[in-house]
């Protein structure tokens, strides 16, 4: 049996690129996710310029032809969901927080964890390469409905389509590997004394997200194999002229697609819950009801998928089933939001940057959730489906999830991750500079959507009703909003990289929080805990009468 070999301090490659330390792997995911977010943001800039100022030369891109518009829109959607929201929310925060918050030294299977990042990096490279192949990136929408996605004759980007599919399949493999690791670690490697209801809610939500992803990704992996053969081996799985059925892909895709949006929602809700508790100095209101509501959301997310297909040619009678289940799932989500707001009651709320982001998430996500009811009820969906109303709805859910809650998490755990504090005033400037323009982008799009603007259209010149000047002004206003929002991201990038080196040095517990990751030095050493902690109580003991501090860390015995 090889004894634990002591070896010299590892070099740059072994320490940062080939490391099995969960914190390093978390940083790899975080930085890859942020890089892809810049690409996704650039793509959004390109097509918003085309929509805001039709057929003008877009500085930094050139003329946006219909084919390039489709590719840019498809890649914006694909990158933002699969290569920004999932890696940062699940893989980066999951990898970083799970071992630290449940009190163990690393993930249960560190080498599988490292492999999952490597497969993810490969998938990102394959996706970016698909921009360079003949015909350009895949242009058939991120949902890739066959027969458009199945044959090059229809989508005119045959190489791009296959590379897109291979990249998404690799990304699924990466998240299956990572997900299994998260689930096993949280189930088995909890600190002694940490019972089921002592686990911080963000860990619960990240693990439930990975389980929902695993259960829902399976059929789509099978669907992807079939689509790959349709594209390359001339099979007819989705080709109606040869016994296949294009609706089969839509069902397999959305059976994964809707649980997928809850897969990215839950970690975001977890991050926001942690921050609300710390900055309101208050125990989470009804931890158990939050947990059961999360379980309810997870289970129900598997029976709602066809509300994406009300008018897609499914049997009209099925739509009634799915509109009822869709309204049903809005109940546990409403319960979660009410519990979050109730947590603020009786607190002493400090509006530091992380809390601003958390409250910003709640305020914006409520609008997203509420506009979903219009699309979930089948009657109004007939008119609103695939219009800009739908685009505005899911950006009011996705932007709070993938951008606002990620900024909340980064500003909250930055001291722990890098041992330095981020600048508060820059943080506040960046917050207001992101949230206000975000509304300026999407409120006008609600209106253009109501006026009938359909999505994925590079120019409305052909449509008389849609080329009214009033609508074009709204589109231009929305583009201006995006330009302002993108420019404020420079404030964040400066604040992030400047604080890495020159930020005020951070102590172990700068926010005076109770969870285990704040009991180790910042940044935590390899192996995290000098002495593996034992847990004595739940994670949110704030404001206890009769104690000196207003917080009671989980591992303090008395």
């Amino acid at each position: 049996m090889s004894t634990a070999v002591q070896h010299a301090e590892p070099g740059f490659f072994r320490k940062y690129c080939w490391s099995t330390d969960h914190k390093i792997i978390a940083m790899q995911y975080l930085f890859t996710g942020m890089a892809m977010a810049l690409i996704g943001g650039y793509l959004a800039y390109v097509f918003r310029m085309q929509l805001g100022f039709p057929n003008h030369n877009v500085p930094g891109f050139g003329i946006v032809t219909p084919g390039r518009y489709n590719a840019v829109v498809t890649m914006h959607g694909t990158i933002m969901i699969f290569w920004v929201a999932m890696p940062v929310l699940i893989a980066a925060f999951g990898n970083y927080l799970i071992p630290l918050m449940i009190g163990c030294d690393d993930m249960a299977f560190p080498r599988i964890n490292r492999l999952s990042y490597q497969v993810f990096l490969l998938s990102a490279i394959v996706l970016l390469l698909s921009f360079l192949v003949k015909g350009g990136a895949f242009g058939g929408a991120w949902t890739a409905y066959p027969p458009l996605s199945a044959s090059g004759a229809y989508n005119l980007t045959p190489l791009g389509a296959t590379l897109w599919l291979v990249a998404v399949a690799l990304e699924f493999v990466a998240f299956l590997l990572g997900g299994i690791n998260f689930t096993v670690t949280v189930m088995n490697s909890r600190a002694p004394g940490m019972k089921m209801f002592d686990i911080p809610i963000v860990i619960w939500m990240i693990v439930l997200a990975t389980v929902i992803f695993m259960a829902s990704a399976g059929p789509l992996i099978a669907g992807a194999v079939m689509l790959l053969f349709d594209q390359t081996m001339a099979t007819g799985f989705y080709d109606p002229t040869r016994g296949g059925d294009p609706l089969l892909w839509q069902h397999l895709f959305w059976f994964f697609g809707h649980p997928e949006v809850y897969v990215v929602l839950l970690p975001a809700m977890g991050i926001v819950a942690e921050i609300l508790a710390v900055f309101a100095r208050k125990k989470l209101f009804g931890y158990k009801s939050m947990l059961f509501s999360t379980w309810a959301v997870g289970i129900l997310s598997f029976v709602v998928w066809a509300h994406h297909q009300f008018v897609a040619g499914i049997d009209p009678r099925m739509a009634n089933v799915f509109t009822v289940t869709t309204l049903l799932i809005s109940i546990p989500v409403a319960e979660l939001v009410f519990l979050y707001i109730a947590t603020l009651y009786g607190g002493s709320i400090r509006l530091d940057t992380p809390m601003l982001w958390a409250l910003g998430f709640l305020a914006e996500f409520m609008i997203g959730g509420v506009t979903g009811i219009f699309l979930g009820s089948s009657g109004t969906d007939i008119y609103l489906h695939d219009t800009y109303f739908l685009i505005a709805h899911f950006h009011y859910t996705f932007v709070p999830i993938a951008i606002i809650s990620v900024f909340a998490g980064i500003t909250f755990w930055f001291p722990k991750m890098f041992g330095r504090m981020m600048n508060e005033t820059l943080g506040k400037i960046h917050f207001w500079g992101t949230v206000i323009p975000f509304n300026v982008i999407f409120i006008p799009l609600f209106m253009t959507g109501l006026a009938g603007d359909q999505r994925r259209i590079y120019s409305y010149a052909q449509f008389a009703e849609q080329s009214r000047p009033a609508l074009q002004h709204l589109r231009t206003l929305s583009t201006v909003g995006l330009l302002v929002m993108l420019s404020f991201q420079l404030v964040f990038l400066f604040n992030f990289f400047w604080s890495l080196r020159k930020g005020k040095r951070a102590e172990a517990n700068p926010w005076r929080s109770t969870t285990l990751e704040w009991t180790v030095p910042s940044p935590p050493p390899h192996g995290n805990f000098a002495v593996l902690p034992t847990v004595y109580r739940g994670p949110y003991e704030y404001g206890l009468p009769g104690r000196a501090d207003d917080y009671w860390p989980q591992n303090v015995p008395d």
Partner: protein
Amino acid sequence: MNMDCRAAPTTTGPRTFLIRPAEKPTTMSATAKPIANTRSATGIPTARLITWWVIASEIVIFGGLLSAYLMHRLGHPEWALSADHTNTWAGAFNTFVLLTSSLAAVLAHKAADALDGPRAAKLLRLTVLGGFVFLMVKAFEWTTDIREGFVLSSGGFWSYYYVLTGLHGLHVLAGMVIMLIIAADAAKNQELQRVECIGLYWHFVDIVWIFLFPLLYIAR
């Protein structure tokens, strides 16, 4: 691997396990197991727990593919005509081969429980041999089908037939490779708990074939 510290057996549920108490983490090299791997809050060792989760996600993958095939099969009675060309005898023999290799796998697990590493390794290699025979019969079937002109793109049934048996065959191949690695360790009485895990995976692949056989070969 700190072999020295004895862990008190704890009886949790029908199975009794040796669970090591949490202790000070040593500065580990990349290959040593983290403490997280050795803990077992659920009472199931991490190796077997991750195997159950692998099987759970495999159920959903094969489930998705099989339900797509079943829907088309029930919708297209004419597929039964091309299903006639599948060689039921080869399928039946393959089922027999996989059942026998599952027997060898579970006997290997029994040997591993008795801490008899070399015997477990021998039985695991027997299982791999069974898998190899299965793949050979599968190769024979495919060549005869292709020679008769039924290729991947010659109609709905054949597309599903090659994707289903191909995906299943890849899983058999992957299982064989991992089994050889685990057998090499088991022969030196190392990591014996992994023998049971690869056994579980192998039985799952066998169950998938148990459902594939009637669906592809027998159903008229």
